[in-house]
Structure formats: C-alpha cells, structure tokens
C-alpha cells in the first residue's frame, strides 16, 4: 500500500504547496548532495521531489503530499515516532531539519528527542544528511517582522533549550551522538531555498575570500523587503571570518558509528562538484579548485575609501579596457597575479559600472565623489576615471532598493540636499542681484558715452591712463 499511513498523519495538510509554510527544501544547489546519496534511503520532511533519488522512501506528515507523490516514491505518511517499525536505513536525509517532521496530532517534541528519534532510524555506519536553520543567520538579521505560518503551531524552536544554538554547538551535539562529521556546508541565502552551499572550510580560507564573497553576494540578492542589503552583510561576514557562523542554515554530512573513516570514495561523502579538489595536491582541502584572489569590487572600494584615486583609476581602466568590462565588479576576481577571472557572464559595461555605482551609493560608504546626483551620474564619472565617455542612455535604470536602511539613508540625503539646494538658490539670487546692478551701471555708462563727444574723449583718456599705470 502506498502511501503507507504509519500514524500521526495530517489529513488536510501539505508542506509542499507552500501555502502553510515556506514550502519544501529546494534549489539546484542541493542536487549534488542528493545525487550522491546511496543505499536504502529515507528522506524525512518536505523536500522538492524533483531533487530526490527515485528509489528513496519519503516520510511526509501531510496526506495531500503523500498521495501526490505515491506514484513516484514509496511514501510513509505520519510521525517520525512511528518509524521504529521499519528496519534502520543506510542513509537518512533531513535537509529541512527536524522542525517540520512532527505532526499536529502529537505534542511538539523537544529538538533533542526529535534528533534521537531520527538517529534511531539510521543504521550503524549509515550516513545522515541533516539540515539546520541558524536562528542568528543573515536571513533573520535582515528580515522584517512577519506573521507566523500555519505550520508554526508550537513556535518554540528558537527558545528550545535542547536545540544546539550556533555552529559549534550543533557540531558538538552531533559528535556527542557518536556521529563523525565529514562535511559541513553553509547554505545561503535561506535554509529552505539555498542558492549556494559552501563548505565551512572554504568560508574560512582567507586566500579564497574573493571567490566566497562573489558567490555569497551573487546568491544573496534580496527578493523581499529587508532591513539592510544582505549582500553587504554577507561580504562583511566573510571579511570577519564569520560567514559560517552567520549562514542562514547548515547542512551536515555525518556518519554514524561504527563507520569507516570518511573519504572521497565513501558513500554519502558528498560535496558539491564546484568545490571538489581539482588534483591530488597535498593541500586537499574542501576549498578545492575555488580560485584565490579578491573581487574587483573589494579592491575598488578599498582604493576609494583609502582615497587612493590613482589606484582606483588604474583598476577601473584595466577593467574597462578588458574583455571583462561587462562583468559586474562583484563577480570579477582579480587573482594574485593580477588576472581577471569572471564568475558570471558579461553584460554591458554600462550595466557593470552602474552596478558598482549602486553598490557604492547604497552601501553607505563614505565614498570620495563629491555630491553625485545618483548612480547614473556616478556611473559616468567612473567611466571617465577609466578614460571613457559613456552614452547616458545606455545606463540601465536603477533597480528597486528594498532595504529599510536605504529608505532612511535616502530621507537623510534628500533632507541634506534640499538644504543645500536652498543655500545655492539664495547664492544665485544674490549673484543675480549683483549682476543686475553691474549690468545697469554698464548700460548707464554706455548710454552716456554714446551720446556725448566729451564723454567719449574722457573715457579714452581714462583707458590710456590705466594702461600706463599698469605697465
């Protein structure tokens, strides 16, 4: 019988439709992890079915979801507490964590108990892929207040004393449970729909900071209104070595004891293809073949804040005269040997310069340019610093800026600019008055000179005298 109702199932409920909560865990970034899953596998909690291996068994609490997927997967529908009836699994996948496993029919289990329950379903030597939301993640730091969803019927998670808080605490808890962690991935920009997974060791690799910044800022474009732009916060987190600690979520690849030591050939020892080591060099770190260097945006901002305008011109000119002129500065690495390495395809140079102008003006930087009228105006100046003249019509319109911080900054800027505009207006008024006076006097003199011969002679004499005195 498929789906098999194991008890605790919710008859009028779907996690996958996204109407009662954040929807399933999803995103192409997860595919390499799930593709590498082997053995008898249980996938617990809401996951995008398109990502799952065809022979996996699903554990879903909502009957609507269970029936929808029953023709594609073996499905167990109900509470994880009823799993004990099944033999333990080679691999358990719970990328959504433990918070959406329990049914409304049962009391909400403390994290600790839910974890033990899931772990009991894993055979010794088996592999656990566990996701975990970070309640101090960047996604929460920039979020505006929201209403609780239908799925948060017992919204205690952040205050659950048994739930390990912080990356170090989670790792310690997994180890205490006899698990060996072979990989820790940080998920950005959200735990439910990560656009990228980066190995925690890569995040801590100073040499590859530029690559990490580019990937994280590229993955962190806000889609909703936010307090502040998460891209800048992500870059600052990388700079301070805090990116793993402030990641919106983590995914742990862990092996239950007794397990053979993890290696590249072990089942479940999965890692995204883009961070796999390129060769057998001694430095076999999870940083893999991620290139080293800094982003051009980082270098440009550094030169701008340092007020090193010559360096800024050199960087801009090298960028804008290269084939990568259309690659946004935040997605362009400058390698230690000063080569450009594009991480995204090139657009137009105007769009790339404009993107940097927006980053400068909306990032709250004390930049060196005096009173730019806006990103388009600054774009023209940046091009000019590279020695180029741009067609203003080719500059794209400014994208919407949803950050609340930007709104406050705009309010303060407009207040200041209005005061300055009024001061200039007063200055122009005074200047016009002075010139009116000078014009009137000049016209009076002209009128006088054009009418009388003696006056003309007198003026000629005066001019001659002035010339004599001066020379």
């Amino acid at each position: 019988m498929n789906p098999r109702l194991i008890g605790g199932e919710m008859l009028l409920w779907s996690d996958l439709d996204g109407a009662h909560g954040p929807g399933p865990v999803r995103g192409d970034a997860l595919a390499p992890l799930l593709d590498a899953v082997t053995g008898r596998t249980l996938v617990a909690g809401p996951h995008d079915p398109e990502l799952l291996p065809g022979d996996a068994t699903l554990l879903l609490r909502g009957l609507v979801d269970a029936e929808r997927l029953a023709d594609r997967f073996p499905v167990l529908c109900g509470s994880p507490g009823k799993l004990a009836a099944d033999p333990p699994w080679d691999t358990v996948v719970a990328l959504d964590g433990l918070d959406r496993l329990g049914s409304a029919e049962d009391p909400q289990l403390p994290w600790n108990e839910a974890f033990e329950q899931l772990l009991a379903a894993l055979r010794p030597g088996g592999t656990l892929l566990l996701g975990m939301e970070n309640f101090l993640g960047l996604h929460r730091l920039v979020a505006l207040p929201g209403a609780p969803s239908d799925s948060e019927w017992t919204p205690v998670a952040a205050y659950d004393e048994t739930r390990p808080a912080g990356l170090a605490a989670v790792r310690a808890r997994l180890r205490a449970a006899g698990l060996t962690i072979s990989r820790t991935y940080a998920a950005f920009p959200s735990p439910v729909a990560p656009a990228t997974l980066l190995d925690a060791e890569l995040l801590a690799d100073r040499d590859r900071r530029g690559y990490v910044e580019a990937v994280l800022s590229g993955a962190s474009t806000p889609v909703d209104d936010v307090l502040t732009d998460p891209r800048r916060l992500a870059i600052d987190a990388v700079r301070h070595g805090m990116a793993a600690d402030l990641a919106p979520g983590w995914i742990f690849v862990a092996h239950k004891s007794p397990a053979p030591p993890p290696s590249d050939t072990q089942p479940g020892d999965t890692r995204p293809a883009d961070t796999r080591p390129a060769d057998n060099s001694a430095r076999d770190t999870p940083a893999g073949d991620a290139p080293s260097g800094r982003t051009l945006e980082d270098l440009l901002l550094c030169a701008a804040l340092e007020r090193d305008l010559p360096a800024l011109r050199t960087l801009l000119a090298a960028w804008q005269s290269s084939p990568e002129a259309g690659v946004p500065a935040g997605q362009l690495l400058v390698t230690p040997d000063r080569r450009h390495l594009a991480l995204t395809p090139a657009g137009t140079p105007e769009a790339a310069l404009h993107a940097f102008a927006v980053a400068v003006l909306s990032g709250g930087f004390a930049h060196p340019w005096p009173a730019p009228a806006g990103p388009a105006d600054l774009t023209l100046t940046l091009a000019a610093m590279a020695g180029a003249e741009l067609d203003p019509a080719a500059i794209p319109a400014q994208p919407p800026r949803p950050s609340l911080r930007d709104l406050f900054a705009d309010r303060d800027r407009l207040t200041r600019e209005l005061a300055q505009a009024r001061a200039r207006h007063d200055f122009y008024e005074r200047t016009i008055a002075d010139r009116d006076l000078a014009l009137r006097q000049a016209r009076q003199i002209n009128a006088l000179l054009s009418t009388t011969k003696p006056a003309r002679a007198l003026l000629a004499t005066a001019r001659w005298t002035v010339r004599r005195i001066r020379h």
């Binding site: 305008l309 010559p310 011109r313 340019w369 100046t381 020695g387 003249e389 200039r424």
Partner: protein, 290 residues
C-alpha cells in the same frame, strides 16, 4: 561657480587640458582651490555655499578639509600641474634664481624691511637674480626701483583678476616660461610660487625675513607652523629629492585626472569632435615671458 575659479587663468588651463577652447572656459561646478593653502583649501574671505564640491590640490589638504567639516571634496591637483603636463620641459639652459618676495593680495599690505631682504638675497644667490613682484608692488615705481638698483631683473607675471575683470589666461604660461629660465626658485615664505618652481625643475630655497602681513590670520598656525610642518622646503639650500616629493604631493601632480574625468568633475561637456583629439597631450604654443 565662484569668480576665484578664474584667478591666474586656472580655469583656462583646465579648459585647455580638457580639450575645450582655453580662451573662454565654462563655469566650474565647484570651488577650485586657487593657491597653496594650509587650511581647508578655500580662501577664508570667500563665500562658501554648503554642498558645493570643493576641488582641492592635494590629498593632505583634502584630509584637513574633511577634519574641518568639508565633505563634498575631491582632489584634482593644481592647474599648474596640468599646465606642466601639457608643456613638457624642453630642457633649455637655466641660470640664476627667480625670487618671489612675499606679497599681500588685493587690498593687503606687507610690513617688513625690503633693504635687509635685498642684502640677504645678494649674499645668498650665486647667480643673476630675477625678482618677481605681485602686480600691486610691481606698479609701485619705488618698489621696482629698489630691487632694480640692487642689480636684479624685475618682472611681474600679470594680474590675478577678480570678479571677471582683468582675467589673465596667460598668467601661468608666463610664470612657467620664466621659471624654466632659472636654476633656483626662492622666497621669504613658502608659497605657491616656490611649489610651482620646484615642479618646473628649479631647486627651491626659502629664507629671509618672512615679513608681516597686515591682518594676517593665525587660524592655521601661520609661519611658525609652516616651518614646523614643511622643514624640508626651508633653508638656503635644501635636499632636492625630499623637496620634490613634498611638492609633487602638495600640488597633486601624482594624481592628475584624465581629461574625461576632469570634465565630469568640473561639470563640463565633452568637446566637439574637431577639438577632441588627445586633449591631455596637445602641445601648447610656447609661453611668452614678460
């Protein structure tokens, strides 16, 4: 914006560098620093409208201006440095010293003993001396005569101009031609002319009674502070490499803008295609010495 932008033909030089007609420069969107300055780069007696860009010569002045509350600043370098960029030194033979006695500006007077200064110049300078007077002093025959009778050649570079009257677009060209005739540049106060001379290839010297300027402001520390801050430019003989490094920085000659950027900063439109060819490197007609 401000009429002082046209002092000494500064705006004219920048217009030429930008590939625009040098005879009639457009209005500059901002205040252009018009002399070497130990304050915020602006003249104390000029009206300042908040929010207007302040275009400064050096990074040091910009830092100081920022500390004094100026925000909309940008380092463009001195017009003099742009002039030299357009007119490379032809390498003609140099001789003697061009000496700039400290002067007041329009409406100011200097109090001091010119006789003693003349004696000191005579005793110090190894070669022929050209004394360059500000136009106020130059038009006073008694002052001119005094220096001439000491055996000095007496010249004047021209008018500073003001309020759009007596503008002198060739002022800096004449000054450059004169300085390039001389091996040394000297004054009794560290001033723009000494900085200019060093950039034009002269060896600097600052010595003698600095004299007193009527109603001189001591806000930024006056002469005592200048001697403390820039000792490498003071003395009858100075260490040339150190002096040149300081001068390059003070005139912003190490950070000149490309013509396209300068036009953007000044608020000037690009030149018409006919006159747009390599504006920064267009050879200028040789300046005429007076």
């Amino acid at each position: 914006m401000h009429h002082a932008n046209h002092y000494y033909g500064h705006s004219h030089v920048l217009a030429r560098y930008c590939g625009l007609p040098g005879a009639d420069p457009p209005r500059i969107r901002g205040y252009l620093q018009h002399g070497w300055n130990i304050g915020d780069g602006l003249a104390a007696d000029h009206e300042f409208v908040d929010g207007t860009p302040v275009l400064l010569w050096s990074e040091r002045t910009r830092r100081r201006a920022w500390s004094l509350g100026r925000r909309e600043t940008y380092v463009v370098g001195a017009p003099w440095a742009y002039l030299l960029e357009m007119q490379p030194d032809p390498g003609a033979e140099r001789e003697g010293t061009i000496w700039y006695p400290f002067h007041g500006w329009e409406g100011q007077h200097v109090l001091g003993d010119h006789g003693r200064l003349i004696d000191q110049i005579t005793a110090t300078e190894p070669g022929p001396v050209t004394v360059c007077l500000y136009w106020q002093e130059f038009r006073d025959p008694s002052v001119r005569r005094r220096y001439a009778e000491a055996g000095f050649r007496v010249i004047c570079h021209g008018y500073r101009g003001g309020q759009w009257q007596d503008l002198d677009p060739q002022f800096l060209d004449r000054q450059l031609a004169e300085q390039r005739r001389h091996r040394r540049v000297a004054s009794n106060r560290l001033c723009s002319a000494v900085f200019y001379g060093v950039l034009a290839g002269c060896e600097p010297a600052v010595y003698g009674d600095p004299m007193t300027l009527e109603n001189e402001s001591m806000t930024y520390g006056g002469q005592a502070r200048i001697r403390r801050q820039w000792p490498e430019l003071h003395g009858e003989q100075v260490e040339l490499a150190a002096a040149r490094a300081t001068v390059t920085a003070e005139l912003g000659a190490d950070r000149l803008l490309p013509a396209a950027e300068l036009r953007r900063v000044l608020g000037w439109a690009a030149p018409q295609p006919a006159s747009a060819a390599s504006p920064a490197r267009v050879a200028q007609p040789a300046s005429v010495a007076r």
